[in-house]
């Protein structure tokens, strides 16, 4: 065991908890300091999900991914800031204050894994773990100018991840380079019997930058209404670079995009309304008042413990699942979700990967997005991959107005290697 030295100057508020020392051992990640998003359980290290309701909570066990990175020799540096329970696109919805974007401190870093992205972009750590329910790894990666990968659903164990929307979320790697993403995937992927959705599909791969003959689908909808034309133009330049390296570009359509965002928000709020029922003050968090009745105590803890966006999503989900509305919202959302999946399956019979922007705009100004619906709409390009469970990576592809823009590459289920290869080809092409 060796002790890592690392900077403790957290000028972007990237961390909720920073450890005094990080111990590193032998292994694939030996000598590397790693930051962990604060919704991933770390034994004996405060894990809050950026919520007051979990302030002071010390998990009695490690998430599977934490066990894996420790075993690989990485040193855990601290727990990163995020939108409360992962509910947000800016890291402003944190009980511990917003994280700032190292590329421009008047801007948000994106979210919800904004702390992890800022910690990497500012050079505090080489890599980090994030989680992605509807874009929460890819969005901050795009806004901060780093690389972030959402693995295929089931490829990385969710054991020890504080659940928000189980059917959508995945833990994944964030880093400055595609090679580091690939290295971290080697450590993270594989079967874990403690997650019943875990698939036995280890990752042992060295990125290959050869894209000759690769068919890249570009859906019109990814360059449609709501996408800033300046961002679209930077991303098109990126796709053209891959074409010059020998890939074939094929424009295509994804009609289900019309319903994807609504399907996503109905699904994630429904799952959240059930998952977040466990925060009642009995087992963790600010203690329940045992002199009150159950409902009085429960309501008081949750009124004081949850932020506005968390309350809103719990209520939306409660409503969408309530008798009389279930058919109109939840059942329809699942039908729409199936259409998104079918669109991808159809496209992947014709193309090898799908490319487009990660986010429709560059990073917002801090405080700019005040109404929840317009915030939700900015997730339109990332949620389809979660609805379908496919792998998707965001790789930096230039700037617009001086701010980073991300190129998103999506691939078929369990072809994480392929999207990582394409991102690597792009990264190598740019650096030459």
């Amino acid at each position: 065991m060796e002790t890592l030295t690392f900077t403790r100057d957290d000028r972007y508020n990237a961390f909720i908890t920073m450890l005094d020392k990080a111990e590193t051992g032998p292994g694939k990640l030996s000598g590397i300091g790693i930051a962990i998003k604060d919704n991933i359980s770390t034994r004996g290290i405060q894990t809050t999900c950026a919520s007051r309701i979990l302030e002071g909570y010390l998990p009695p066990y490690d998430a599977h991914v934490v066990t894996l990175v420790k075993k690989a020799g990485a040193g855990i540096v601290g727990k990163t800031n995020m939108d409360e329970f992962g509910m947000g696109t800016t890291t402003e919805n944190s009980a511990f204050g917003p994280t700032k974007n190292p590329a421009d401190t008047s801007r948000v870093p994106g979210g919800s894994s904004g702390g992890s992205a800022a910690a990497i972009a500012s050079g505090m750590v080489r890599m980090a773990l994030g989680t992605d329910t509807g874009g929460s790894i890819r969005c901050p990666a795009a806004f901060c100018g780093i690389v972030g990968h959402k693995p295929t659903y089931g490829r990385v164990s969710r054991y020890g991840l504080v659940a928000y929307a189980n059917s959508l979320e995945q833990i994944g790697p964030m880093a400055r380079t595609v090679s580091d993403i690939s290295l971290l995937m080697e450590v993270l992927a594989g079967h874990d019997p403690r997650d019943s959705t875990s698939v036995n599909c280890p990752y042992a791969h060295i990125p290959d930058p050869d894209v000759r003959g690769l068919k890249i689908g570009v859906p019109e909808e990814y360059f449609g209404e709501g996408v800033d034309p300046r961002v679209a133009s930077v991303v098109w330049d990126g796709i053209s670079l891959l074409e010059r390296k020998g890939a074939d570009i094929i424009t295509c359509r994804m009609p289900s995009m019309a319903y994807a965002l609504a399907a996503y928000y109905v699904t994630c709020t429904s799952e959240a309304s059930s998952n977040l029922a466990r925060f009642d003050g009995v087992r963790y968090g600010p203690p329940a008042d045992t002199r009150q009745t159950w409902h009085e105590s429960f309501q008081e803890r949750r009124r004081d413990g949850f932020g506005t966006e968390v309350k809103r999503r719990i209520m939306l989900g409660t409503f969408a699942l309530s008798s009389g509305y279930y058919g109109k919202y939840y059942a329809k959302a699942q039908a729409a979700r199936q259409r998104v999946r079918n669109d991808f399956l159809r496209l992947f019979r014709e193309v090898d990967v799908i490319a487009g922007p990660t986010m429709p705009t560059v990073a917002f100004r801090i405080g700019e997005k005040t109404d929840p619906l317009s915030m939700y709409l900015s997730d339109i390009l990332t949620v389809p991959a979660n609805l379908a469970g496919i792998p998707a990576i965001s790789v930096p592809c230039g700037t617009s107005e001086g701010l980073p823009v991300g190129l998103q590459i999506m691939g078929p289920h369990f072809r994480d290697e392929r999207v990582i290869d394409v991102a690597y080809a792009f990264e190598q092409g740019v650096s030459r």
Binding site: L58, P60, A258, L261, A262, R283, T290, F319
Partner: protein, 89 residues
């Protein structure tokens, strides 16, 4: 359209405890979002939801669990190795 009364009822069902002064704001935002969700009315239901995947369960064999004192370490309200909770009735 949902009313402030509806939102108060939903908050009650979800045990979320929102303040009276917050009701108008929550209701307005709620309706904007629900209006947007109306696009789902255009989805035809014939598409079957879900996947062909099946649940994977482990065999029903007793395994070691976390030690009781560690499980209880995050609460103040405990008694004889149990959590103490508010009364239900």
């Amino acid at each position: 359209m949902v009313s402030e009364k509806d939102v108060a009822h939903i908050a009650e069902l979800a045990d979320i405890g929102i303040e009276k002064e917050e009701l108008a704001e929550f209701t307005g935002r709620f309706n904007e979002i629900l209006d947007y969700f109306d696009i789902l009315d255009q989805v035809e239901q014939e598409t079957r939801g879900g996947t062909d995947l099946v649940n994977i369960f482990r065999d029903d064999i007793v395994e070691d669990s976390l030690p009781g004192d560690e499980v209880l370490a995050n609460t103040r309200e405990k008694e004889d190795g149990f959590f103490r909770a508010p009364r239900v009735m």
